[in-house]
Amino acid sequence: MDDLLSEFLTETNESLDVVDVELVKFEQEPNNATILDNIFRLVHTIKGTCGFLGLPRLEALAHAAETLMGKFRDGSPVTPEAVSLILNSIDRIKEILSELEAAGGAEPEGSDDDLISELERMSLSAEAGSGEDEAEGEEAADDHAEGELVYQVLERPLRPGEVSLDDLEKAFQETEAEVELPDTADGEDDHDDQPGEILTGAEAADADADGKKPTVEKKKQNKSGKSGSVSNQTIRVSVETLEHLMTMVSELVLTRNQLLEIVRRHEDSEFKVPLQRLSNVTAELQEGVMKTRMQPIGNAWQKLPRIVRDLSQELEKPIELEMVGADTELDRQVLELIKDPLTHMVRNSADHGLEMPADRRAAGKSDKGTITLSAYHEGGHIIIEVRDNGRGLDVDKIKAKAVSNGLASEAELEKMTDQQIHRFIFHAGFSTAAQVTSVSGRGVGMDVVRNNIELIGGSVDLRSVPGKGTSFIIKIPLTLAIVSTLIVEASGDRFAIPQLSVVELVRVQTNSEHKIERIKDTPVLRLRNKLLPLVHLSHLLGISEEPVDDNAIEQDNGFIVVMQVGSQTFGVVVDGVFHTEEIVVKPMSTMLRNLTMFSGNTILGDGSVIMIIDPNGVASAMASHASSAVAEENATEQADLLQEAIDGQATISMLLFRAGSPEPKAVPLSLVTRLEEFEVSKIERSNGRDLVQYRGALMPLVYVDPGHTHRAEGTQPMLVFSDSGRSMGLVVDEIVDIVEDRMNIEVGSERAGILGSAVIKERATEIIDLGYYLPQAFDDWFMRKEMESSALTKKVLLVDDSAFFRNMLTPVLKAAGYDVTACGSAQAAFEQLENGDTFNAIVSDIEMPEINGFELCEALRRDQRFRQMPILALSAVVTPASIERGRQAGFDDYVAKFDRPGLIAALKDVFSGELGIAA
């Protein structure tokens, strides 16, 4: 009984799947008697078998459904409600069947009265329309009651509406050999096997079978004469048997490969010819066994028409499902694995993709949306496309969602193509459906789909045209068991790369057209006007012999395996490429399964074990490799910034010189426009001061010490400072050196002209205060007043576009005890502030290109963080109007550019909380 039951379960499930499909068809074509007969026959078979096996619950349900269908056959109008009801009944039957299977043959407890009464009600209302037919049918049934073997066995009276064998026979005879369905063979099997079984059962249970039965069988066989010969040639083989066969063939392939390897080493071996033969036979055998595992993809689509129909009702959109290439075959294992993803994608298309009929009309499309499923072979893969003619993906919605999910920033999104943005829907937790429906929108969809497909070495991509529709393209390998791979070498080890993801091979040589270039430290390859990111396999796997050597890749005359995973294309640099080999993937031991870089391992022809590279692992490693490099970079920069912050200031170039006294003096080199030597004779005296003619103008000379004079003869070195067309010559005795050092003024100075002393080149050096000397050359340059130094160590950000003033004011403020950071533009200032550096005050120039001081201040005031920060304006233009403008912009104070004591005082005021206009 167990065998019988399992046979029954398998067959019934298949039959039910067919009924599902047929019913949906029937609903669309209610007048197609062939379809109806088909359904009728299948349901009847189910009912009969149930009765025979003693499954009363199933039988009753099937019977009620059959009754209703009988009404249709008799001409009652077909209503969608009736079809829904029958479909519901079939679902219930399936439920019971699965429980039956789980329980090992016992029918589950429960009642189907709800459905049965509903079915009966529907039958009765149908009967009202065709009462006479019904009465006749009933009679006929009664007439042939004794012919119903099943009920005889069960000793049950025929029920109203039950169908006689005559009817059944008629149905069989009227039915053409099924043509449209991919699983016609199965259907044929069903009704061929069925009577045989009943017969067997009958013999076992009760030998009192009347003559009707064999007649039916005979007739049936006559009827299906031509197709019968085909169906008789098929046998059921358990999947386990096939799996075992497959494993054995895989082993055979391996052994053959080993033998071929041996013969390859012995050129003139007498084994060569027979081995060649063995090789061919093995290949054929392999192909043959593979074929047994092949099933038409239509098997995976079987449930879809029903699902789409239900969705169509639920969502109230008319949907048409087109299926193209249902007979495309693929490996059973793969088929099982893509069933669910496919179903999900179809649901998705129906729910998200297709618009409501009203919207479709508005868009100038027909009310009925179409979902097209198509499958075809392409170079060792099978391509399945799920296409809808709906609204297409909403890029803006995806963008908004990506931002709110933190997957990308606005700026990043701006740079992305629509294609890249579309791919966000494959991220976990990503659903753009505004509300969660029972159909989709729970955000556990497309990422699972993608994972499932990638798990079997496939990829999924999508194309979407707004207003035209979306199509998902799934590319999957035909089989998982045997993979064609490319054997490569890296750092002396061999690895297998599945050819599925290999696009091409590129030979690189330093002098050939293909050479590896690098951007910063990232190796890339120019390939047909595109840049291909590269990674060396040994680096990726951490097996390079020498520590990561930047030149290794450059000098490498190796090969680049161009791989494509999803939409990601990249090159993997390997040391050598051997050959391609068909390998049987063996799973890795649990201990190694955590290695994402490998998908498995196998034994090669030479008997050694080889690791199989997982292209998905490589792709994700590429991605994280890049981001970790960026992270490292950031970390380094951060560290530098930190260091600078600790040290107070970055190093600056200082010009060391002597003038007047033997102590070295220094001035920031950036302030010095040039170093000149003039013939002493060129120095002229006019209006009580020394001048030289310099570039067509008179340049006043200034001495560091008032008592100091220029040399009496020879040449006189001097430092020339220029700003805005005016120059000044600072007379010095000797230029000593230019050094890079930090300028930490440790001791402030009370002496005019000297900012203070700092240790430069391990010697105490006086830092010259240019601000003292410049007005000596031109009175209006600015006026030197008393230097105020303060013990405050506040951090001040100085913003000025003029390097001269930056370099000028930095030492001034520093000398006054402030920790100064200077930057050359408002933009740079923003960056400084965003970097997390905190400042106690900002001193900003007003006249700056791009963003002026007012704008800078206004922008800062808008930011919560900087609302309370003291900001001082620094400008050459000081008018009541500009002061007012500065106040409006939010400046705390407005200081004339040359009024350095004023600046110091203003800062002091700001920090002591006494704000005021100091200008």
Binding site: D493, K586, T590, I603, V609, M611
Partner: protein
């Protein structure tokens, strides 16, 4: 073979051990767990794997994961030369423990067995299932379950 000694306590069943030497130390593996002893040839190393994993190798058509016991026990790496391996099964998968040499099979009674000394190196203690006092030397019992379990579980995450 099993000699029933009625006078001894119930716990004193004898166990047969395959003895192996790793870094000069004598270890014992319950014979029931040892499938075979072989000389590993052409071991394919597995990049990115745990440091104890010596690699994978083909043992009569099966892929065996080889574990370098010296590394596992934090001992000095072996000098070049012939190495031996003990094949064991764990949850349907084949593993090979790479060791220095294989000794004899000893039948030991629980009498001489003791728990791990409390001061035993932690890294040893976690894979040792006790110690047998033999004449002139000590034999550490290798607990295969714990040895492999400790290597698989932390990686499962």
């Amino acid at each position: 073979m099993t000699k029933q000694d009625v006078f001894s306590t119930a716990t004193d069943d004898t166990v047969q051990y395959v003895t192996v030497v790793i870094g000069g130390q004598l270890f014992g593996l319950p014979i029931s767990q040892v499938h075979d002893v072989f000389m590993p040839e052409t071991v394919t190393r597995v990049p990115l794997a745990a440091r104890e994993v010596a690699g994978v190798l083909n043992l009569r058509g099966r892929i065996v994961t080889a574990i370098d016991m010296r590394k596992r026990l934090h001992l000095e790496p072996r000098e070049m030369g012939q190495m031996m391996a003990v094949g064991i099964e764990h949850k349907g998968e084949s593993y090979g423990l790479v060791i220095d040499s294989v000794g004899e099979v000893l039948t030991l009674s629980a009498d001489t067995r003791e728990a791990n000394p409390t001061n035993l190196d932690k890294r040893w203690a976690e894979i040792a299932g006790g110690v047998h006092r033999l004449e002139g030397k000590l034999m550490v019992i290798l607990d295969v379950e714990r040895l492999l379990g400790s290597m698989i579980e932390p990686m499962a995450a």
